[in-house]
Every structure is written in C-alpha cells, then in structure tokens.
C-alpha cells in the first residue's frame, strides 16, 4: 500500500504543518593457522588482563547508586512533556469511541500506508518509504525505485523516526531562552529586515548547511537578489568539502563523481567509501554485487583499501594497508606517479616498509594497469582534497572515466568552498559588519573549526536567529531560536547523490509547531504567511511550465504528463522525479594541477590526529537519539561515547601501554593536545589502526542537546582547526592516572580456533568448493530423541552472506525500529544487558597491526532442534508450525534458562522495565503489530513474524501461498548489500533455498546439532597472489589446542 496521501490531506497539512607487543608477536608466530580473535585484550588474554576485568566490578553496585540512569530518561521525558503542557495533570475525560462518520480515504485500521519522501544528510538525499499507522509514521524503509536507496537505508534514516518523536526537541520559539509566540519573532524579524532593506542587506548574513533543495535555493537566490549586499554562507562540518576541493584542484571546478562499483574489477579505495559518504547505499549495493560468488559465477572484484583509521571499507577489502594520513597522501602520489598520472614528484623521504615499496605498490599498479577501464580509484569524503585530486588523475590515467565512474555537475545549489565561506562570515562578524545573522539549521557554535572561534564572533552580531531541531550550543548564543520541523513534518525537495529530485511530503503535522527553512526564508522576505507546501508546489508548477532549467518532465515510460496535477501526484507517489538526475559530463584535468598538492610528513615523530564523522551520531546532530547512541560502532563496538583510538603498537611505543594490560573495561583516560587545545577522553586500542596517529570521532561532548545526548564523550571539534579539518600533525597524548570503563558490546576473547566465521580465498574456494566444510562436523539429522517436525506449508529460513555484509549497522537499527526494542543506557550496556535482537559480531584474524576482519550478523537461528524450547518450564518458547521459534511474552515467567541453553546468546532479557509505558510521544513511534515487552520477560528475534502474518492474510484472501520475496524482514529490507535473504525453505525454487544449496553455506555451531534455520554463506577474499598475505592466515587448522590455549590463558601468571 503505497500512495499519495489522500488528496485533501496534503492541503490541510500544508496549512498546518599491555600490550607487550613483542610477546604478542611471538605468541602469534606460534599459532598455527587461522586463529580468530575479537580484540587485543582477547588476543593477549593474559591473567593480568583478566585481573583488570575482574576488578571492574568492585562491588557491582553501579546501577543502584547511579542517580539518573540513562534508562530513566524515558521517564523524565514524560515529566518534560507535562511541563510543556502536552501532558495533562488530570485524568483524561471519558471518551466515547465511535466509528468515523466519513472515514479518511485509504485508511484501514490495522493496515499501514506507505508514503514516499526523502531524508537528506549534508545535502544528499536518500529516497524513503515511510510506514504510517493511522497517521503515525513508525518505520522508515528505503524506496526501491529511488537511485540513492534501491530499497536500502542506513542507520541514520532508520533512526530518524525516533528523532521525530523526541520530546527533547525544541518545541517553541524562544527569545533569550524565554518562550515567545512565533508572531513576536516575526515582528522582531520584520523590524530588523526593514532596517536591512534600507541598507541593501549590508548587515544581513544567512548561514545554512549544504543546500541542494531546488526550492530553498531558489527562494534564497530570489531573496538575495533584492538585497545585493547580503551574503549567504554555507558550512557543514562533515560532508563533501574534501571531494569538492579535490575536484576543484583537479578540474578547476567542483564536480560530482558517481562510481560504478559493479563495473569495476579492481578497486583502490582511499579511506571509507561505504559509510558516511554521499551515495553510500547505492555504492554498497553495487560494491557487494561484485563480491558475491554463486556457483560458477566467480566474477569477484579485488579491493585494495588504504586507510588510516579502520573503517568498514577496509574491513571488507582483500588487501588493506593502514597508513598515517600524511603517508597516505604520499602513497597516493607514488601510485599515481607509477600509473603515469601527472601528479608531480612524490614527496621525498616517504618512509614505507620495504614490502610496501617492493611488493605492494608494484603489484597494485600492475593489477590496476591490467584492468584499465575496469578499475576504479575512489577516495572517501573524509579524505583531504589532494587525495581526491590524485584519485581523479589516476582514474583518468587508467581510462576509467565513463566506464567505472562518471562525472556530473554538483548537486549542491552553490558548491562553494564552505570553509572559506565560514571564514568570511567570521571576519565580517568580528569586524562588526553583521547586524542580523540567520542560522538555518546546523550548530556552528559547536561544529565550527576551533580556531575561528565562531561563538565569540557570534556575540558581536546585533540580532542572531537560530533555526534548528534542538535548542543547542548555538541557540544558547542567539537571541531568537525557532524550532525547525523534522523532515517527516514538512514539505521540501531534496536531491540524491546523482541529482535526482525527491519532493518530500510530510507524514504528520508538526508535533511541536516547528517551521521549515522554506517558511523562515519566506518570512525573511516579508511573506511570513506562505507555507512550505505552497512554496514547493509553486516552484514545481513553474518548473513544470518550463521555467528555469527544469523539464520537460515525463513519466517512467517517457510519456509527458497531461497536467501539473497528474505530475504532482505521480512524483509524490513515486518519491522522485524522473529525469532530474544530472547528466553525465566529460571533463578533463587541469594543466599542472598537482603543483600545490603534495605535503609529505616525513618524520614519524609527530603524532597525527584524525577527525572522523561518528558512525552513530554523525556530526553530533543525532546525539539525542538513543537508538543511535546505543548502536555499537563498527569495529570498536563502542556505545554511548567516543574515545581516542590508536594502534596497539603506538600505545606501547609511545605511552608504554601494553595491550596485554589494556582492557576496554579499565582503560586509562588520556589528554589529547593539538595546537594548544586539549580534550580528555578514554584511550581505545584498535587493531589495524595506522601507527603514530590517533582517531577521534566528532559529534560527542555535546553540552546542550537533550537528556540523552548531553555530556557523553568529549568534544573533538575543540581540537579541529581550519587547517586540520580531517587530520593534523603535532598532536600530543598524555596518559592520566584515571581509568574508565567503556560500554563496548564487544566480547572478551579471541575465537579460540572455533570455526565461527568460515572463510576462504577465492582461489581455495574455486579449487575446492567444499573447502569451508573440511573441518566441520555436522551430526546426522536422526540424532534426536524426538520425532522430526513436519512442515506442510511454509518453512521459514534465512541466509546471510558474510561476503556481502559490510557491517554497516543499518539492520541493527531497522530491527530495533520494527520490533519496538528498547534502549537500556550506558550503565546497562556496561553490564552486558543491551537488548539488540540482531547484533554484528566482528572477528579478527591475523596480526594486530593489520588484521583481517569479518562481520557476522547474529540473530535468532530458529533452530530445528532448539535447545531453548525444551528447557523453558512454562512452554513460553515453542516451535511454530512453520518452524519459527516463537517466544510467547505473555507466558514467559523469566527463568532465563532458555538464554543459558542458547549457544548463540541471542536472547535478551528485560532485567528492568526497559520499555517506556508512559511517555505519550514515544508511544506513537511503536510498531502496533509488535508487543511492547514488560519487565521480567525474555525476548529475541522473531524473523519479523508480524510481517509474515501480514503477508499470510494477503495470501489467504487470494487463496494462494505466500510468494517468494513477499515477506521482507526488517533487517533484510534495510540491508544495502542484500546480504540477508529470507524465505521459504520448503520451496526449492525460493531464493533462500537456492542460497542454502550453495557450497558456501554453513550453519553456525552446527556441530551442536541445533540445525539452525539461519545459515551463512562463507566469507571469501580475493587476494592478489603477488602480494604475500601480511596476515599469514593460511595453514592447517590447529586441532589440539590444549597446551597452546592453556598457555595463553595462563600467560602472565
């Protein structure tokens, strides 16, 4: 059920709206074969470390003395609502429930409706379908027809629906922190604007985030046309500034690059291109399409990743090279030079290891050159401009342009140098040239480079207006704060990574009286009455009529629309406008472009600091979203805060912290000093991190954002300066005496030679398709006392392709949103009580300097011989007639025996009343098809049984079986790489049955005779045979581990 909102509705809404490294290495040498481990502390696994672990619980009394557990924030939210006048102090009056006299069109109680819209992040939109229950948006899905989504979503989009209902969002305009009516704001604004009009806008400045909305850009341009002296500045702390400047360096103008990973046989990636990147969902899909190996189809790409800070891109690459940021630039120079890209001489004195010089680079260059036209060099958005420029040059030299990547015009309305723009604004403010500053979105006081001292400059502006979702660090310093409407509350239009426009429609009237940027700009222009709906519709009416560069528009079939009304309904229904993708353009490199590019840091001595967007809270804007805060960050599995991340060797060499003595459960706090500014945070040792540099994630240390996000972690923006936006040299780290516990969901030991993630190289697999089964032991199916179940109808099963999974976390949040999974707060995560039904285990193999990582999504396996079922004393977990392992919450008395008998530990227990039963706004976000669990019951993955039942109802009405692909589990629907496939294993033709017939198919712990319904496809890597695997991961498996393991456990005694 997808469609346009019933016709009257939009109109109505519109009007409303220790490591002893040498010992470790030695131990490592002794290990034969493939040995897996999850973190350094585990690899070391010494007694000393275990002692730390043990000491972590002095009396275990944390939760009862903790005054305000984050878990309790939900309760506080209720109080806040009451204060805000939303809740009532008295009993609700008795209401009669009567049926609609005139039922709203299309609404059938119990059946959700889906509406297409789009969410944009840093100016790049992802097309979405929003599930709406009786007018309440509850769940975000990707729009399968939208080029930026193809049905997938990322964690941010999944969690955005919670932000919509966040009771901490700003709810009313304020003047100097006091509540004022919106009308008073308009009067105040009008007075200021009257003065500005007389001056031609000389004292007026607009500061926005990156704007790609055609309507908003048009509005601003029209508005500024009347005020020639006014200026429009844009600044975004994360985003595409590096890419834009890189393109300017290479081509003299900013361009938009669209990669076609599905066309690339060899990929060289600098930095992370699969998360926090424009178009990442589309890229991940196409990337994964070349990583799957089915049957004889072995067209697997080969991926080389060069990165400083471990990312999911590096974790799925075939070869990964960790390099300091400055070395990474040098490396790019070297490779570009050898590829014949006119990049100027490489920086002198690059200090690479001999194996990189002699083996890695030549092999890489040969591989790339052998695949001219079918190779691809990509640089992540977080890379400095010079790397982007070098990537462009390499692609030109390899003849990839037009084949594996194409260029278009930028999607931004004004692709300016944002840093320069912000600098100018600060200069103007400091010079007293700004009388009225309107900040539309963003939080520049928090995010602006520290050296610009934006906050101080801001104080010199006579009238400051902030428009945002939250009352934050910026609104504190502004006179006026006007609440912004959430993207699900307003009309707008946004552009995808390829330029495709989506007209975003609201799913609900603004909950807290927010206004959209369209309305604020309109008010600035003296037309406060105009609604976002009218503005957007008016813009597209004009565009439809052929004004501007738009049109003529056609539908998918190429037919022109009869009238605007049909066009409008069609684009709202589809969620995008056909033909608005930007055309491909040819562009050539500038002459002598590389002249100013190279800056090699030659000495290893100065510590470098790397700034990265946080994989959970991005630039800090999602700080008040508990789903994202509790989301274990890829690789570190850290929740609720950030850390100073270094490689184990750096920690040992520089601070004498031996990995064997380090534990995330008792990590020292360190001070990180950079350019005279200091922050303090916990140290985190991450294997595979480049040496002599430290990574800090931005977005934490929010002072003011709401009850969830304030005061978590440290603020890395305080170190980030305008000359070191992404990395800088000369940082200092000092270890303090205090220790802290990090709420990681990561386990505590290595994989102990257990075949949990089975992996092979492509060569091994092609030579011996049963390679991964060689060490396996699968008991016969007859090995049970009980008669086998029979399934006459469907038998549900799932397949997860470990080779496609990139560990991006979208499924985790999708599961949380679909299944009403509560968040528990940091103190509970510290005690291993997180509630995620679906978790992503990450295992490492190989040397901690550069290990291979494997991601393994783990949820309920729905075992045929489920160990949990027989031990539940009250029959609360039972086998369904379709083979699901059903958990009956109402029947559960909470003995937790099922969890003990579950070898996968996928069961989650409500140790307290984690779900919020009281806060009104959070009731609205719940999926009405899924029970909200109370205290004292066990819960776990259900294979989205509510979705199966919806499909069953549809199928029964039509008297047919449920079709293959008709049921998409929430995790499957969200997955950008389609790693998760669900379906009927009774049907031999179903996609899941075919996947389970693959030789790569294996069951986790199937030697226990649990016969899981969820099976995995083994991971494959496609290494270049010319490069000796640094990992040293081959060899026969150890089968007698008694002594080595006892050794390891006892080491340090």
């Amino acid at each position: 059920m997808r469609g346009v909102p019933p016709h009257p509705a939009p109109e109505r809404e519109a009007s409303m709206r220790d490591m002893d490294l040498s010992a470790l290495r030695e131990r490592f040498q002794q290990l034969s074969g493939r040995d897996y481990w999850r973190s350094l502390e585990e690899l070391a696994g010494t007694e000393a470390f275990e002692e730390f672990l043990h000491r972590e619980f002095p009396d275990g009394a944390s939760e009862w003395i903790d005054p305000v557990g984050r878990r309790q924030f939900l309760k506080l939210m209720g109080a806040a609502l009451a204060l805000a006048g939303v809740g009532a102090c008295t009993r609700q009056p008795a209401e009669s429930i009567v049926p609609y006299v005139r039922a709203p069109e299309e609404i059938v109680p119990g059946r959700p409706l889906f509406f297409a819209t789009a969410m944009s992040l840093s100016g790049v939109a992802t097309g979405l379908l929003i599930e709406s229950h009786m007018g309440r948006p509850t769940k975000v899905e990707g729009n399968p027809e939208h080029p930026g989504s193809l049905g997938a979503t990322d964690a941010f989009a999944q969690a955005s629906v919670l932000t919509l209902y966040d009771p901490d969002r700003s709810q009313t305009p304020t003047y100097l922190e006091e509540i004022r009516p919106y009308a008073e704001f308009l009067i105040s604004l009008d007075a200021a604007m009257t003065a500005q009009r007389a001056l031609g806008g000389a004292g007026l400045r607009l500061l926005t985030e990156t704007i790609s909305s055609p309507t908003l850009a048009h509005q601003i341009q029209m508005f500024l046309a009347d005020l020639p002296e006014a200026r429009w500045h844009q600044y975004e702390p994360i985003g595409r500034s590096g890419a834009r400047e890189g393109a300017r360096l290479a081509f003299g103008e900013p361009v938009n690059t669209i990669y076609r990973f599905d066309q690339a046989d060899v990929v060289l990636a600098f930095g992370d291109v699969l998360s926090c990147q424009a178009g990442n969902l589309r890229f991940a899909r196409e990337f994964a399409s070349r990583r799957r190996v089915f049957g004889e189809d072995a067209r697997m790409s080969r991926v080389y990743a060069v990165e400083s800070s471990p990312s999911i891109t590096g974790s799925v690459a075939d070869h990964r090279l960790p390099l300091r940021p400055s070395d990474l630039i040098g490396f790019a120079h070297l490779v570009a030079g050898q590829l014949g890209a006119a990049a100027g001489p490489p920086p002198a004195n690059l200090a690479f290891a001999a194996e990189i010089h002699d083996t890695w680079i030549p092999a890489l260059v040969r591989d790339l050159q052998a695949h001219g036209g079918s190779s691809l060099v990509v640089a992540g958005d977080e890379q400095p401009p010079v790397v982007h420029a070098l990537a462009h040059a390499m692609n030109h030299a390899l003849g990839n342009v037009g084949a594996t990547l194409v260029y278009t015009d930028p999607i931004e309305a004004e692709p300016i140098d944002q840093l320069q723009s912000l600098r100018e604004l600060v200069d103007d403010m400091n010079a007293g040239r700004v009388d009225l500053l309107v900040i539309l979105g963003g939080n520049p006081v928090y995010t602006a480079p520290a050296d610009l001292d934006f906050g101080e400059a801001l104080r010199r502006v006579r009238l400051r207006v902030h428009h945002g979702l939250y009352r934050d660090e910026t609104s504190e310093l502004c006179h006026w704060h006007v609440p912004e409407s959430h993207y699900l509350e307003t009309w707008s239009d946004v552009r995808a990574f390829d330029g495709t426009v989506t007209v975003g429609q609201p799913l609900i009237a603004p909950l807290y009286g927010g206004r959209s940027a369209h309305e604020i700009v309109s008010a600035l222009a003296g037309r406060p009455g105009e609604s976002a709906h009218d503005l957007v519709r008016e813009f597209w009416t004009e565009a439809f009529n052929g004004e501007g560069e738009w049109g003529p528009f056609t539908d998918v079939g190429g037919e022109p629309f009869a009238d605007f009304d049909r066009f409008w309904r069609r684009i709202l229904h589809d969620g995008f406008i056909v033909g608005t993708a930007l055309p491909e353009r040819t562009i050539s490199l500038q002459e002598n472009w590389a002249a100013g590019g190279a800056s090699g840091e030659t000495s290893a001595e100065p510590l470098q600091v790397i700034f990265r967007a946080d994989p959970s809270v991005y630039d800090g804007r999602f700080a008040n979203n508990p789903w994202l805060q509790e989301l274990p960050k890829p690789l570190t599995k850290l929740t609720w805060e950030n850390a100073v991340i270094v490689s184990p060797r750096t920690a040992e060499d520089r601070f004498g912290i031996r990995a064997a003595r380090w534990s995330s459960q008792a990590t020292p706090r360190v001070t990180l000093r950079f350019q005279g500014r200091t922050v303090e945070g916990p140290l985190f040792l991450l294997p595979g991190h480049a040496h002599d540099c430290a990574t800090v994630f931005l977005g934490y240390g929010r002072r003011r954002v709401g009850r969830v996000g304030a005061g978590l972690g440290f603020d890395a923006y305080r170190l980030r300066t305008s000359d070191a936006l992404w990395y800088g040299s000369g940082a200092e780290i000092q270890v303090t005496d205090s220790r802290t516990r990090l709420a990681t969901t990561q386990g505590h030991h290595n994989m102990e030679g257990r075949d949990l993630v089975r992996a092979a190289t492509l060569q091994e697999y092609l030579a011996h398709p049963d390679y991964i089964h060689q060490r396996a032991h699968t008991p016969p199916k007859t090995l049970t006392m009980y008669p086998a179940y029979t399934y006459d109808g469907h038998a549900w099963g799932m397949s997860v392709d470990l080779n496609a999974c990139i560990g991006c976390n979208a499924c985790v949040v999708a599961c949380q949103a679909e299944n009403n999974i509560p968040t528990v707060g940091k103190d509970q995560v510290l005690n291993h009580r997180e509630m995620h039904w679906l978790r992503i285990d990450t295992y490492y193999a190989g040397h901690p300097d550069n290990p291979v990582a494997y991601h393994q999504p783990v949820m309920c396996m729905h075992c045929e011989n489920a160990p949990c079922e027989v031990v539940c004393p009250v029959n609360a977990t039972v086998h369904s007639f379709e083979g699901l392992n059903d958990q009956v919450y109402n029947r559960c008395v909470g003995t937790r025996y099922c969890s003990h008998n579950c070898p996968y530990k996928v069961r989650r227990f409500n140790f307290f009343l984690y779900a919020d039963f009281t806060t009104p706004s959070l009731k609205a976000v719940r999926n009405p098809d899924v029970t909200v669990r109370s205290r004292g019951v066990m819960e776990k993955c259900t294979f989205c049984v509510q979705r199966i039942n919806h499909a069953r109802i549809d199928a029964k009405k039509e008297d047919r079986m449920i079709r293959d692909g008709e049921v998409l589990t929430a995790c499957q629907a969200a997955c950008p790489t389609q790693a998760i496939v669900f379906g009927d294993i009774n049907d031999p033709e179903s996609q899941v049955s075919r996947l389970k017939a693959e030789p790569r198919n294996f069951g986790l712990l199937d030697e226990l005779n649990t016969r899981p319904r969820l099976t995995y496809l083994s991971a494959l890597r496609n290494p270049n045979p010319e490069i000796v695997p640094i990992e040293g991961r081959d060899g026969p498996g150890p089968d007698r581990l008694w002594f080595s393991r006892a050794d390891r456990l006892g080491a340090g005694k």
Binding site: E50, L53, H749, N875, R896, Y897, H900
Partner: protein
C-alpha cells in the same frame, strides 16, 4: 577358644565413646531437655543471637522488596550470566538440607543409634534450609507473581508446563522434599510435644502444645501407629536424599552448556550435598552443645562420626572435580577443553583454586583422630567446607556461563549489594527460624534419648516378669 586365638599382645580395641554420658535417668533426660523450653530462663545470648538474625531477616525482606519491586536487574546478572547468586544460593541451601534427611531417614533405617541426639535439629535445619532454598527459584524469576504457572493445574489457557524442562522436575522434587521433610519432623515431634504439654505451666503453652500434640496420650496403640508412620516416612524420605539433588543437578546436566552438560553431575551433586549438610550440622551443633550444656547428649562420638562422613563425601566430591577435568581433556572437544582450561586459568581461577583448597585439601586433616576430636578444629573445618561448597556452585554456574560458545558474547559477572543482601538475608532467616526452634521446641528428641538409657534396655525376661 576365641580368646585363645586372640593374640595376647594386641590390646583390646577401645570401646567407642558413648552416645550419651553416664548418670542419666529417664527423668533427668526429660528434665534437662524440656527445661530449655519451659523452665530455664532464656539466656541473654539467645536474645542477642536472635536479634542479630532477625535483623538480617529484615534485610532479606527489604531485599525481596527491592528485587520484586524493581526487577531482578538489581542483581549483577546479565546476558550471558543469567543466573548468579540466586541459583548458587538455591543449590547451596538445598544441599545443606540433605544432612537432616540423611541423618533422620537413612541412619534410622540403618539403626545408627548415634543419630538420635542430632536428628531433631538436623531435621529442623533441613526444613529451614529448604525454606531458604525455596525462596530463590521464586525470586529469580523475572515475574515471580506468575510462579504458579510452573504447577500443572487445569487452566483456561489450556497450557501445561513443559514437562521436558528440568525446572519443572525441580518444582516436583523440591516441593516433595519440603513436604516429606516437614511431615517427618512433625511426626517425630508429637510425643515430645505431648511431654511439653504435660509439663507446661502456663495456660497458653498448654493449649498450644496441646493442639500440636494432636491428642497424644502415649498409649501402646499410639506408639504402634507412631512407629509405623515414622518408619514409612523414613522409607519415603530415603530416596529423596538421593533424588532431590539429582534433580537439581539435572538443571545443569540437561543443558548443552560445557561445564554443565556432564553425566557425573547427579552422584557428584548428592555427595556434595551431604558433604555440605554435615558441615552445617557440625557448624550448628558445636556452639549449641556448648551454650546449652548438651555435651552429655551430643558427645564426641557424634562429632567424630560426622567428621568421618565429611571426609568420605569430601573425597567423592574431590573425585568429581578430578573427573570433570579429566573428561574435559579426554573428550578432545574444543568447547569442553576450553571450559576446563578457563576454570583452571581463566579470570575466575582464584575462585576455583580457593574451592579446591576448601573442599579438597582442608578435609584431609580429618584423617587425623587428633583433629576429629578437637572441637575448635572441627568447627573451622566445617565453616571452610561450607564456604567451599558455596564456591563450588559459583564455579559451576558462573564460570561455565560467562564464556560459552561464541566469544563475541562472553562477559563477566559479579554480585551486587542486592545479591549479597538476599544471600546474607537468607542466612539471617535460617538462623532466626533456628533460634525460634530451640526456644519453643525440644531441640533433642526427648523420648528417643530415653531409649538410649540403660534403663531402656529391656530384656525378654524382664518383659515377662512385668507381665
């Protein structure tokens, strides 16, 4: 002839210490024991002891309030370690109870007369230990108010319990055990209750004891029925000594978890239960006989015999530990091997080695008669064994759970203040009940003690003469 064959050089074996000191008569035995309840002034130490115990009972009530009110999350349990102090304490208390039943039932059937002076309070101890133990399965539930769902009763939901689950077997085992233990204890009390009724001075106690004595008049018919009932109950209770802890061990052995899934668990658990039970009887008997001057009735022979039982069961338990280690290695199974290595050298290794010290090494001193007859030494050994057996359950439950199959899900566990409060609270409850018991009921069976006197040794001829 026999005398002639006996080598003259060997000294005659020393007669065993008597089970009752000489010089007592029917009257003096009755006086001495009933006086504790009826006439003697309650000593100040009783009030102090009771006060302290009662304070901890109040701590227990408060802790129960917190656990039920806020949820089991106040404890340190988590995923993967979903059972902590709750089930450790449950198994520990149930184990302690075993000595009472063993002494009462098995030793009765084996006609071990020395049991007589300790059986009454050992049975009471059993009962109170079962009461303490029974609290934990209730409290450990996420929703304890629905505990009755564990019972197979006809209901509108049309659901039976899951009879394949060992937790259901537990329900039957423990409730049966509790019921039989109570009946056994109460039936054994009836003649003494009548004695107290007859000797009571105050009207209230006459009425109370009178009701409880159920009209006992000491007629031959009464005695006949009493003996029959008692023997039958002893017969019923005997298999329970073995079955209860066997079923408790199934809670673990039935699961698939390395460290739990072991065939040796039933005998090993039963031996451990008797071991800890005798240690607890010893822990209680030594101070009681000193405070109430019962050295005549609870003699050195009793203590020595109990020490021997502790030594024997301790050796069985030690064998169990040895076998667990051996099986872990002999299976050649990755997970089993790891479990044993983790127990020996993992983060909880100190607990394991302390347990070995307490349960395996310490009781070896009981080989020496000098130790077996040294009261302070016995007391210390008993306390150490009690601690060791608690640690054993900690090691079995927590150490097996905290690192199982998937390393990604491994975790750590430690008790919180509420874990300790419930634990210490049940010790308080146990002692409170015990203090009340010794204050209001005869802690030693009066009529059975009388049968031990020389006067009671009736010969056939004497019988005839009487007739």
């Amino acid at each position: 002839v026999a005398d002639a064959l006996k080598p003259a050089s060997l000294p005659a074996p020393p007669a065993p210490a008597p089970v009752i000191e000489p010089g007592h008569t029917f009257g003096s035995v009755t006086d001495k024991i009933s006086a504790i309840v009826l006439t003697r002034r309650t000593p100040l130490s009783w009030f102090i002891g009771f006060g302290i115990s009662f304070f901890f009972t109040l701590v227990l009530l408060y802790a129960i309030g917190v656990v039920v009110g806020r949820g089991v999350g106040v404890w340190g349990i988590n995923i993967p370690v979903g059972w902590g102090f709750d089930i450790i304490n449950f198994v520990w208390w149930i184990g302690i109870g075993h000595a009472g039943t063993l002494i009462s039932a098995i030793l009765l059937l084996l006609r071990q007369q020395w049991r007589t002076s300790i059986n009454r309070f050992a049975e009471a101890m059993t009962l109170f230990a079962v009461a303490c133990a029974g609290l934990f399965p209730l409290l450990h539930m996420g929703r304890p108010w629905l505990a009755y769902w564990m019972l197979p009763y006809p209901n509108t939901m049309g659901i039976w319990p899951q009879f394949r689950s060992p937790l259901i077997w537990d329900v039957f085992a423990v409730t049966t055990y509790g019921t039989v233990s109570f009946l056994f204890w109460y039936v054994g009390l009836i003649p003494d209750l009548a004695t107290l009724r007859d000797r009571a001075k105050s009207r209230l106690s006459r009425i109370s004891y009178g009701i409880l004595a159920m009209g006992w008049r000491g007629s031959a018919l009464h005695w006949h029925r009493y003996e029959t009932a008692y023997l039958l109950l002893a017969g019923l209770a005997t298999p329970l000594v073995v079955s209860v802890h066997t079923v408790v061990s199934f809670d673990f052995a039935i699961s698939i978890l390395p460290g739990w899934h072991a065939t040796i668990f039933p005998p090993y658990f039963v031996a451990g239960a008797i071991y800890s039970g005798f240690a607890m009887v010893m822990t209680l008997a030594i101070p009681l006989r000193a405070i109430y001057g019962l050295e005549d009735f609870i003699t050195m022979r009793h203590l020595e015999n109990m020490a021997k039982v502790i030594l024997v069961t301790g050796l069985i338990v030690a064998y169990g530990y040895l076998m667990e280690g051996f099986f872990g290695w002999y299976t050649g199974h990755l997970f089993e091997e790891f479990m044993v290595a983790n127990r020996f050298f993992g983060p909880y290794a100190p607990m394991f080695w302390t347990l070995v010290l307490c349960n395996v090494l310490t009781p070896q001193v009981l080989w020496l008669k000098r130790v077996r007859t040294n009261i302070p030494a016995l007391f210390i050994v008993a306390i150490i064994v009690n601690i060791g057996m608690w640690l054993e359950r900690y090691v079995i439950i927590v150490v097996s759970l905290h690192r199982d199959f998937l390393p990604s899900s491994w975790g750590m566990y430690a008790g919180t203040i509420w874990d300790w409060a419930t634990f210490v609270g049940t010790i308080g409850l146990f002692l409170t009940l015990l203090f009340l018991f010794i204050r209001v009921l005869p802690m030693i069976s009066i009529f059975e003690m009388r049968t031990l006197l020389p006067e009671a040794q009736v010969t056939e001829s004497e019988d005839l003469r009487v007739i």
